[in-house]
Amino acid sequence: MSVVVRTVTRLLLPAVVMFGAYVVMHGHLTPGGGFQGGAVIASAVALVVVAFGARRIRRHKETLSVLEDVGALAFVVLAFLGIGGTFFYNSLAGTGGLFGQEVAMGANPGALNTGGMLPLMNWAVGLKVLAGLGSIVLLMGLLGGDDDR
């Protein structure tokens, strides 16, 4: 791609990744969540593939594959952690530990340290969606010869 696209990509990339990470991390407080934030970060991967060519980040293919597996396994394991109650039982909510702060009732902006299992599941699903969609775009970019123009 042209130098304009590459420069704009260099400028925009940190902001896009930062916004995606924000959406994933605040999934239990603000609109968005794991799927949306992962899709936003995957669009950053797509930006890099379109602007710089897929050959540049070909060595990260295995990394994305491993990340996808880790996300999926973490999601299922987190769901199994609540098996004392039911599958997907929120066993961390209100215990005072990690993400276990008591939630103030009524309409309030909320605290980051609440939510129990929900932030961890958001991270797992975000990792999975980021790696899955990113690897699809990367494989499509790697298809065929080197035709960066």
Binding site: V23, P31, G32, G33, F35, Q36, A39, V40, A42, S43, A46, L47, V49, V50, L133, I136, V137, M140, G141, L143, G144, D147, R149
Partner: protein, 83 residues
Amino acid sequence: MTALAILQVLLLVLLVVCGVLAVRLKDLLGSVIALAAGSLLLSLQFFLLQAPDVAIAEAGIGAALTTALFVLAIRKTRRKEEE
């Protein structure tokens, strides 16, 4: 009719225009751009209908990822549609 309703109807009309452009254009890259613009308008419409979750998902998937996939596919094949 309030200003919000007028804005929503305007967005939907622009969405239909984007869809017709995406079908009619012979330049496939322009067609993809029209599709991305339509997706962005749809995301704005979702936001106006107070569904910000769906708006973020639509803007991320529809306007960014599918556009990137189509651009990559066009780069690897031909740009002009054949009769």
